[in-house]
């Protein structure tokens, strides 16, 4: 049966060491007293203090957060609709094109997406700033949301929705009171994915932003190009910490929901038997 063999333990240990050691080093050296990031000179939290006084970083963080929340909400609505279309709509005119437009952005090099969107905004004469980044991010993240939600919709028993219609729900009502609650975990993880993709994006944001809006990745990139600095280490540590807490909380919540559901099913079965 399933068990750890020596080979598996070795490959997992080495693999996870490869994934985590660089991040750990980065975190450790964010607490280094020296400006040199490669020589340990005692524990200190001064870089965090410096960071919190750095207005430019704080502004950028605020812009990033705004962009992230707005774009991920738009992406979630559009991506869920796109998933419904992909899974439920059967054949329609231009389906292949549609599915191409869903899958291509997942792998499309960001430089191309960024450049093409910029040129669109310029030819439309739109002023570039927060809104243009939001539109750009919503566009590529909706595809990720759509993929996440479709994978749940595929395994979804359509007769549930039909039963709701049979019991007198309107189409929208059936979607809202039956389908949505069941696919909700996927929709939520889609939102989270869209949000982190937006927080993470450097290339597309660089193309589509204007002078008025600088996001955190743009800021980090311009600082990092000059070399390694403890302030960036501190900032990275904060971001990593936030993401870790977020991911762990999310997974605990979904795990609890799963346990709950299992218990309910168990009880239902016992009531039947």
């Amino acid at each position: 049966m399933k068990r750890f063999t020596l080979f598996n333990i070795t490959s997992l240990t080495l693999g996870f060491a490869f994934l985590y050691v660089p991040i750990l080093i980065l975190i450790i050296f964010s607490f280094n007293a020296s400006r040199l990031v490669t020589v340990w000179a005692g524990f200190s939290t001064k870089w965090y203090g410096k960071l919190l006084q750095n207005e430019a970083f704080l502004d950028a963080a605020w812009v990033t957060l705004k962009v992230g929340i707005l774009s991920s909400c738009i992406a979630t609505v559009l991506g869920t609709a796109a998933a419904m279309v992909m899974v439920r709509s059967g054949k329609f005119f231009g389906r292949t094109l549609f599915s191409g437009m869903i899958y291509a952005p997942l792998v499309m090099p960001e430089v191309i997406t960024g450049l093409s969107l910029l040129l669109l905004f310029i030819s439309l004469g739109v002023e570039r700033g927060v809104m243009t980044i939001v539109l750009a991010h919503a566009t590529f993240s909706m595809c990720y949301v759509s993929v996440v939600v479709s994978s749940r919709l595929v395994s979804f028993d359509q007769s549930l929705e039909e039963a709701a219609l049979d019991l007198g729900c309107s189409q929208f009502d059936a979607f809202k009171s039956v389908t949505l609650p069941i696919i909700a975990p996927a929709v939520i993880s889609g939102w989270l994915l869209a949000f982190t993709l937006s927080l993470d994006d450097l290339v597309i944001a660089s193309f589509t932003t204007g002078p008025s809006a600088t996001t955190l990745p743009i800021k980090i990139y311009s600082a990092v190009r000059l070399g390694v600095s403890p302030e960036i280490n501190a900032l990275s540590t904060l971001l990593i910490g936030a993401v870790t807490i977020g991911v762990i909380t999310a997974s605990l919540v979904t795990k609890r929901a799963a346990v709950h559901r299992k218990r309910h099913e168990e009880m239902a079965r016992q009531a039947e038997g």
């Binding site: 997992l12 291509a104 997406t113 909706m142 994978s151 070399g227 390694v228």
Partner: protein, 296 residues
Amino acid sequence: MRRAFIISIPYLWLVALFLIPFAIVFKLSLSDPAVAIPPYVPTLDLSTGWTGFKDFLSQLDMENFIWLTEDNLYWKAYLSSVKIAFFSTVFTLLIGFPIAYGMAQAPKEWQATLMMLIILPFWTSFLIRVYAWMGILSNEGFLNQFLLWTGFISEPLQIINTNIAVYIGIVYTYLPFMVLPIYATLEKLDPSYLEAAEDLGCSRTSAFWSVTAPLSKPGVIAGCFLVFIPVVGEFVIPSLLGGSRTLMIGKVLWDEFFSNRDWPVASAVAVILLLILVIPIILFQKQQERAQEAES
């Protein structure tokens, strides 16, 4: 009616913000650079009507593409991007497969945790993960310090700003994209296939090669696409970890656009890049659709 409405919203959105922009890139790749805002000619002026449009068309030409073929910087960059993408895909597969395999073989109660450990870096900023390697690979970095300390080398190795650093960065950041799809197929693999193979006389190793490996192909293919295609156009990694001799087309495009402000040439670079990737992208789409159908 309702259905048409639900289809049309995401459809129109993607047409407007994904498809049409490509058309514009294509158009611009046929234009000429100019010192103006925006920095290219011609611009379409619809107020002059049909003649204006004809005028506009007549000014488009293939000049930028000819330029790309003449200057060997470009085709070298394309070639080297594809080469780097290919080899880093191979490396990512070689490292990622054993991890995915180990995860799929692990006891059930461990799998959720292992999965989380793979996903966590994937959620953590890409830029930060690349940055983490800058401190490790630099001349005074930890890797060199470590190697000096062990006595393997007597002088620091130049790793950062070379292609080796680029490979390390790519393998590191793209590893989850390889591991996750492979894990997904391995985890679904019916264990009775392996038992049947052993029952029919296979050793563990030969059961792996004759059953597990071929049956994990869909995951391997998906993983390879997810790594190869974006890496061809990768910008951040060559720009932060690579050196002046690292030629990657994503970086060329960026420089063309931001430093040289030659938008038409940048567009031509993008068009060619897209042409290189269009076949892998279509194959990827087909593969994903097949996988989804198999699921339902």
